[in-house]
Structure formats: C-alpha cells, structure tokens
C-alpha cells in the first residue's frame, strides 16, 4: 500500500508536468493564422503570386516613392535605395538596398509591409514586384524588361549576401 503511495508521490509531479496546460486561450483558427502570418524568409518562402517589370516599376516609383527617396532612388529626405555597391567599409560608405541588403525577398517584404511610408499596404502584389524590379534595376541587379516574380526574386544574388557576421562582443577589454 505505502509502496503505491510512494510511487504516486514520485510520479505526480511528472504527471502534472506532462499535463502542463492551464487551459488559457483559444485554439487559433487557420484563417486567423493565414491573415497574420505574412512573413517572408530570406529564401523567398511566403512570397505571394504576382509579377512586374522595372519599366512598370518606374511609374510606380515616380508616383509613390520618389518624393521621399529621390527621382532615381539616390536619396532625398529619406534613404538612398540605390548605389554604393562596393563602398562598405570605405571612407565614402553608402548603405543602400543595393549595397547592404543581403537578400532580395527582404526588399519585397519591407516595401510591401512598410511603404509608401504614409500608406503602407496600399500597393498590390504586382506593383510591389514592379517597384522592387525597378529598385534592383537602378542597382544594376535586374534587367529593365525582365519580368520579376517570386521564383526569380528568390534567385537573385545580392552583392552583400556574405556581409554579415556574428556578434563578437565583449570585444573591448578592461581599460584601467
């Protein structure tokens, strides 16, 4: 008998751990997850269907972007999106989408979720593909007439794809 209760004493915490749920919250519906999970991986997983060319993108850019980022994305009140390739670590460093960003699907993701600044989410997927094609074109990374889509975007090799390294801190030692 007391052998049994000893066993229960030993097993009880384990059983409780296995149980573990406090039964708080509700199971998330697939629809809710699909609505919110718009993440796009560096490999391009999550990119939606759609397409566009740089020629089309130029029109979008001039209407929706250039007043803040400059006529040719050279930068104005807001960041330059083109140029600076090869300048990292040099005295005249210029960090742009072209020179600094390590993967192309990330450009699509950011423009889609955050731009244009005052009206994010207002571009249709085709317009985003087009304007990204144009930004890539201005950086010499995409042909003017070629059609950009999810598969093509995922294949683009960005100049700075190997530009990121691990945190190496603490890296500055005592200085008494």
């Amino acid at each position: 008998m007391w052998k049994h209760s000893l066993l229960i004493l030993i097993l009880l915490p384990m059983l409780m751990q296995a149980q573990r749920r406090l039964e708080i919250g509700h199971r998330a519906a697939e629809k809710v997850i699909a609505q919110q999970d718009k993440f796009i991986t560096p490999e391009g997983k999550g990119l939606p269907a759609g397409k566009g060319t740089a020629i089309e993108g130029k029109l979008v850019f001039e209407r929706r972007c250039s007043r803040c980022h400059g006529q040719k994305a050279e930068g104005a009140d807001d960041a330059a999106l083109a140029g600076g390739i090869g300048s990292l670590g040099k005295p005249k460093e210029l960090r742009t989408v072209g020179s600094y960003w390590p993967h192309a699907p990330g450009i699509w993701d950011y423009v889609n979720r955050a731009m244009p600044f005052k009206d994010p989410g207002s571009l249709a997927p085709d317009q985003v593909y087009a304007v990204v094609a144009y930004i890539l074109n201005l950086n010499g990374l995409w042909d003017e007439t070629a059609e950009l889509n999810a598969a093509e975007l995922s294949k683009i090799q960005m100049p700075n794809k190997n530009g990121f390294i691990k945190d190496a801190r603490p890296d500055v030692n005592r200085n008494r």
Partner: protein, 407 residues
C-alpha cells in the same frame, strides 16, 4: 519670530537647497503667489487622475527629422530622480507612428512550431501567473553620436534613449509552455501591430529565460507610445527587440534576417562586414549631475550622481574620477541593485574651484569594465552606429560651467 514667517523661510530655504542638489542653476522664477504665504489657503479638491505640479517642466526631447512617426524622443535623465523613469517621460522610438489600439477585441496570436496554435485576449494573459520586474530599456542607437567627434553636449541628447520602469505581465515561457513548444523551435519572431508591422527574431533560449509579455508599466497599463496594450520586455537586450503593440509570436527554426535585422540594428566593422543579432547592451554609466549644460554654483561640497546599467545582470561597482582620469574612486551604489535595471550612484566631491574633468565608469557582475571611447573606436571604428557604451567625460570650468569634451 511668528511661526508663519519661520515656515515661510523654511519653504524658501528648501527650495534653494533643492536647486543646489540638482547641481544646476535653480529656477529662480518663483511662480506667482509663492511669495504670499499659501499655507492657510484652502486647497483644491480631490481628483481622479493626478497631474504634476504646473511649475514642473521637464519633458522628453522629440527628434527634429521630417517624419516624427519614424523618430524618437529622449528622456531627460539629468532631471529624473532615483532609478524609475516616470511613464510619461519614458523615451520613444517608433518606425511607423503610434497605433491607436484598444484592449477590447485585441488578441495575441502564438503559432508556428508549437503543438497547438493559440490566441490570447488581454484577460487570458492576465489570468496566467503574473510577474513584475524592474528593467531598463535602451535603444541600441542611444549615444550613437558619441561615435563621431561631435559628441553630445548634454545627458538628454547623448543618453536619453534609455529609461527604466517596473514592468508587469506574463513570462513568455508560460505562453510557450501552454502552446507546447516543439523541439525544432529555435527562434521566436515577434511582430507588432504598428503600420509597418515591425518585427524581430529572438533566440528561443532567451525566450525561455526571462522575457516578459508586458501589459503593465509602473503600476498601470502600458502607455500607448510604450506599446499599449502589449509589448515584449527583453531584459538587458537592445530596445528594438522589445517589440511594442505585440500582436503575433511565431516559433520558427531560423531567424528572418528582415529589414530591422540587416539594414538597421547591425554594427558595421572597419572591414566592411557588419555584426548581426547584436542583442546585448553592455555596461554603461553617465554622470547626470553635474553634467553638460549645468553649472556648479560654488566651490566646496558637490554631490556627483548618475546612472549605471548593464544587460549582463547587476552593476558591481561604479568608479569616479574628478582629476581628469589620474585616479578613480568608488561611488556609493543605491540599493537595491537589480539585474538589468538602472543603478543610481552617488559620490561626495569637495570641488576646489579649479578646472578639471570628471567621468564615471561601470563594472558589472561579469567583471566587464566600461571602456573608454578611444578603446571602443580602436576595435570597432567610428561607423558602427549602435551600442556605444564608452566613458562620458564632462569638463568642469573654473567658473563652474559643465560642458562636453569634443574628441
């Protein structure tokens, strides 16, 4: 002497001492009516929500860039007291403005590599075991201008992207346990409900260790600009990962390397490679009084005070120099010294009235010593923008002025 006039004198005396103790020129503009004895006048009635005294004027300092929705406002750390930043003065940094959100209908989604994807209302979150912790939040861009030769002129502009509050919420580990974390889950992506759906990838070890999903700040609900109704508090890590307006948590095998993890919040090294996922905020301190823009009123006793903090636990010591770095002495540390929180330090100084330089340096529980600006630059160059934690030097002039020291 009538008791009234002595009371009046006492009021004036304490006002003057209060001014001296801050180490800066006292505000001599007495509010109208203060000269009159107000003690016997019947005061105002009780109220529902308190306001500070109208003669108290310290404020955050908003940025001056074109879009104030993608900007910051700095905490007046030289004027706040103790270690807690009043919620109304806690610094701001937003990428797409402050969303207007309500608790009613608000849900947090937790999904990805978990046994059961779940949504939680605010009431759900409050019914989990709760926790409160006092933690600083510091933007990794704080003190960014110290990398350049044109260092900041005062504490607010140079250090005001750091604040410290008591946060209340539920441990992220409780939510992950409830949903049943799968072994393949190595990162948690946290996303906000602001216009750009700002998000960051956080390693699972940290998520299970001490991250708080916070709904409370300093005893009440979060302020809208601090993430109402829900934000992450990631103790000791850069402010940007403390995602505000938290709406979605997704457990994944890999980080996203999205815009705020590549284009921003990465630290450029002299060789043109940038460090990524640089989460820790290393030990740092600053003398807040006497500090840039203030004035020491007379020679003799001056209380030096300031703040120290580290993202690696507790502050073990703060050392002060009052002779331009020739010697360093230990400051008194205000207890309790809490992990990943501000620690207030104080040092009794007898100023001889001569020009000198004063500075503080912090030592944390790992033995790490706050470095000089020069030694930081020697390793990282002047272009890494984030995570400046070098020693801040103030120049004291013979006439009592306190200014910054340009490099």
């Amino acid at each position: 002497m009538s008791s009234d006039s002595s009371r009046r004198r006492w009021l004036k005396y304490s006002a003057a001492v209060g001014g001296l103790l801050t180490g800066c020129t006292p505000n001599t503009n007495q509010p109208p009516g203060q000269e009159e004895d107000v003690v016997n006048l019947l005061g105002r009635v009780v109220s529902k929500y308190g306001e500070r005294s109208p003669d108290q004027k310290i404020t955050r300092l908003p940025g001056t860039n074109k879009h104030l929705e993608a900007s910051s406002s700095l905490t007046p750390l030289a004027q706040t007291m103790g270690i807690i930043t009043p919620s109304a003065l806690h610094f701001e940094r937003h990428h797409a403005g402050i969303p207007t959100l309500q608790e009613a209908g608000y849900e947090l989604l937790l999904h990805g590599l978990v046994a059961e994807p779940l949504t939680f209302t605010l009431n759900d979150l409050r019914s989990f075991p709760s926790a409160s912790q006092i933690n600083f939040v510091e933007c990794s861009g704080n003190s960014g201008r110290e990398w350049s030769a044109k260092v900041s002129a005062d504490v607010q502009t140079g250090f005001g992207l750091a604040s410290c509050s008591e946060w209340t919420g539920v441990k992220l580990s409780s939510l992950l346990q409830e949903a049943g974390l799968k072994p393949a889950g190595k990162w948690v992506i946290a996303e906000g409900a602001d216009a750009c759906r700002m998000h960051r990838s956080i390693p699972i070890d940290k998520a299970l260790k001490d991250i708080l999903v916070a709904y409370g700040q300093n005893g009440e609900a979060l302020r809208p600009e601090q993430g109402y109704p829900l934000r992450l508090i990631v103790p000791g890590w850069e402010g940007n990962v403390c995602v505000k307006w938290l709406r979605q948590l997704k457990v994944t095998a890999e980080p996203l390397a999205s815009r705020e993890e590549t284009s921003k919040y990465t630290d450029m090294m002299p060789n043109g490679k940038a460090r990524q996922y640089t989460f820790d905020m290393e030990a740092k301190s600053v003398i807040t009084a006497p500090s840039g823009g203030q004035r020491i009123l007379k020679r003799g006793y001056v209380e030096i005070t300031g703040l120290a903090w580290t993202g690696k636990g507790r502050i073990d010591a703060v050392e002060i120099t009052t002779d331009s770095g020739k010697s360093w002495q230990r400051a008194k540390l205000q207890e309790p010294r809490l992990a990943n929180a501000f620690t207030r330090f104080r040092f009794d100084w007898m100023w001889d009235g001569l020009a000198t330089q004063i500075a503080s340096r912090a030592v944390d529980e790992t033995g790490y010593v706050q470095p000089s600006r020069d030694s930081l630059l020697a390793v990282r160059g002047a272009n890494s923008h984030y995570h400046f934690n070098g020693i801040k030097v103030w120049q004291v002039g013979a006439e009592g002025s306190v200014t910054h020291v340009e490099a």
